[in-house]
């Protein structure tokens, strides 16, 4: 590639091919525009208040909480891959680890940013650390997510410092080297924190005695949703990592990791998903037959409202649960890229739907006999704010791919059509 077309050549690692600078800039333009719109929408919400959203006293949580829970589950690929590589010594997954770390960083930092807009008094966020209510699942979530985001930043810095120009600064090189030694420790700490907050996010709704649709019995202080959320997050995290990496491969026209890495991640994802579906089925039966009736609510109170009927329960269990698990586990389908990606996409869709059901359907359902089933459509400010987070993710991942050694060693196929 001529230096004329690659004017940022000095920042790109030696020996790798990247798309011409102008083409890369053009790829970024729409995402930067979306990010700008998102920042404007978030600014409106911060300046004028949450009256800019379509949430209300009954629908106290809306699209933001649903998508926050969803992207945090997707971001589980980061801690879980670290756990597999450094704790369970699955060294063959190491080539995808940097990508997983960046993805985790994007998901968690994006979720925290949206949460800061979602609260009525963002400047009081520190109150949770100063006056923590140790009985609240949200306290646990806040502590663990804050700490884990710090861990992700510490894991991302060594990747960042391996940039060609940054490596020229001697102190950066020493810092990166020292920090790199800490990575296994960070992976262990990250795994511990993540198991807890993924569970606490499930516990957020599972402890709500006043919402029989979400309320679950459990073990000790944790409702069953605590364990189900951990299981579903570690099941879907690798699938999301497969999807993002495969998308990057398509856009860059390069093979970034060996197919065996995809197959292994897919197998782990499928196996955990199958286990999740089995445990979830038992949990649902216990809830419908014991927990819920004891509170005076039956299936008719939950599943007689269109469109949030029992179809969703079926969808989460079979076409978006068992089916992707089989696609990812069975060697005949897992060997074929198309089936593998379909399995991963269905697995992600299943967990998305599960988070939607728990967050949105719980609030839509009436509790008092004279209440109505509620509908809620997010405002443009809510959609744009979240669109901004998606754009932020694409931009950070694109920049990381272009300037940092995300996939080690890079598998250049020699094509010059890369968008990264």
């Amino acid at each position: 590639m001529s230096d004329l077309l690659l004017i940022d050549r000095r920042w790109i690692a030696r020996g790798v091919e990247r798309t011409p600078t102008m083409r890369f800039v053009l790829w970024l333009v729409p995402w930067v525009a979306l990010l700008a719109l998102g920042i404007y929408a978030a600014g409106l919400c911060l300046y004028y208040g949450l009256n800019q959203t379509n949430m209300d006293n009954r629908f106290a949580f809306g699209m933001w909480i649903f998508l926050d829970l969803a992207i945090i589950a997707m971001g589980a690929g980061a801690f879980f891959t670290g756990f597999l590589v450094y704790i369970l010594k699955q060294a063959d997954l190491k080539p995808i680890l940097n990508s997983a770390v960046v993805l985790g960083f994007i998901c968690y930092s994006g979720a925290v940013a949206v949460l800061m807009v979602d609260v009525g008094q963002p400047l009081r966020a520190w109150f949770t650390f100063w006056y923590p209510n140790t009985h609240s699942m949200l306290t646990e979530v806040t502590f663990c997510i804050s700490c884990y985001l710090l861990v992700l930043i510490l894991e991302y810095i060594p990747v960042l410092l391996r940039n060609r120009q940054l490596r020229k600064v001697p102190s950066f090189l020493v810092f990166e080297h020292q920090l790199h030694k800490l990575v296994p420790v960070l992976a262990a700490v990250g795994a511990f924190l993540s198991f807890f907050h993924q569970g606490s996010l499930g516990g957020l709704y599972g402890v709500l005695r006043g919402r029989p649709f979400a309320f679950r019995q459990g073990f000790a202080i944790w409702p069953s949703t605590f364990f189900l959320f951990i299981l579903s997050a570690i099941a879907v995290g690798p699938s999301f990592l497969i999807l993002v990496t495969a998308t990057a491969e398509t856009l860059t026209g390069r093979q970034l990791v060996q197919p065996s890495v995809f197959r292994k991640l897919g197998f782990i994802s499928g196996l955990l998903l199958a286990l999740y579906v089995a445990v979830k089925a038992i949990d649902t039966l216990v809830w419908l037959n014991i927990t819920s009736p004891s509170l005076g609510f039956g299936p008719r109170d939950y599943y007689s409202y269109w469109p949030l009927s029992s179809t969703f329960l079926f969808a989460v269990t079979v076409p978006l649960g068992l089916l992707p698990a089989l696609l990812l586990i069975m060697p005949t389908t897992a060997r074929k890229r198309g089936w593998l990606l379909l399995g991963a996409a269905l697995a992600c869709a299943g967990v998305l739907l599960n988070r939607f059901v728990l967050t949105v359907q719980t609030l839509a359902l009436p509790t008092l006999a004279f209440d109505q089933f509620l509908r809620y459509i997010p405002s443009w400010q809510e959609v744009a704010t979240f669109g901004g987070v998606i754009a932020y993710g694409v931009i950070v991942y694109s920049l990381s791919y272009r300037y940092l050694p995300l996939f080690d060693p890079p598998k250049g196929a020699g094509k010059h059509v890369s968008l990264g």
């Binding site: 949450l50 209300d56 006293n57 009525g120 923590p132 709500l208 005695r209 006043g210 005076g296 004279f370």
Partner: protein, 250 residues
């Protein structure tokens, strides 16, 4: 002093006039609704709901159910969820207290409340020019972005305590502590008092055969009771939809 303050609301007496709602708003400095507010974004710590037995014609029956914070006495749903202890149960009164000064505005408590008796300040509080002179100096105005709810007119409890202290008494005179909604009800439908005091009229009213609590099976032990002679009203409150649509009178 140890009490368990609560109410018994006689639904057969409630005419749905809304005087309790107005008195509550005036007493607690609830600002006028924003022009953009909807029934789902307003501030109504006391809200009178109209219900029916679902029948038509002569079989139709209607009633009004005032809904306020139930001041749950067991596993109070909003207390355990608040991440920064902005909600607590005052053990000496049984009142579930909200501290707007500490509230983050996360609204987790609102999601937790089965009675939908918690309200978020979606707008900056604003009063028409001149109307601010009518504000109650005993009650702080809440800012945008925090949650609020009925606190059984806690400022009145403070005043009663001050009066008792000035008179050299340790206990308040119950006649000095009456929430605004109770005082304003023209039909005397709301009875207020100490549910733990057997000599208090509210105690016997709560044990009236036709007294009931909303969503009692959740096990949160609400301190707001209702009573009605009409079986369909009781059935509706207990989520017994079959009996609720019969519309039979006892």
């Amino acid at each position: 002093m140890s009490a368990r303050y609560g109410m018994v609301i006689d639904l057969d007496r409630c005419a749905g006039c809304g005087a309790c709602m107005v008195a509550c708003a005036a007493e607690n400095n609830v600002p006028p609704a924003s022009p953009r507010a909807t029934p789902r974004t307003g501030l109504t710590p006391m809200l009178v709901r109209k219900v029916s037995n679902g029948m038509e014609g002569t079989a139709r029956r209607e009633a009004f159910i005032p809904i306020t914070c139930m001041h749950c006495g067991n596993e109070t749903p909003c207390v355990s969820v608040c991440p920064q202890q902005a909600v607590e149960v005052d053990k000496s009164t049984g009142i579930v207290m909200q501290m707007p000064q500490r509230c983050l505005g996360c609204r987790y408590c609102m999601a937790a409340c089965p009675y939908h008796a918690r309200y978020f300040n979606w707008w900056d509080p604003a009063w028409p020019v001149g109307m601010e002179k009518s504000l109650n100096p005993e009650v702080a105005v809440r800012m945008r972005g925090v949650v609020e709810k009925c606190n059984l007119c806690h400022a009145r409890l403070h005043s009663a305590k001050e009066k008792a202290a000035a008179a050299g008494r340790k206990e308040i005179d119950h006649a000095d502590y009456i929430p605004a909604c109770v005082e304003a009800c023209p039909t005397g439908a709301i009875l207020f008092g100490d549910l733990s005091d057997e000599s208090d009229p509210v105690f016997s009213a709560a044990h009236f055969p036709n007294a009931f609590r909303l969503l009692a099976r959740l096990g949160t032990e609400p301190n707001v009771y209702y009573k009605s002679e009409q079986a369909w009203v009781r059935a509706l409150a207990e989520r017994d939809t079959e009996r609720a649509t019969e519309g039979k009178h006892v």
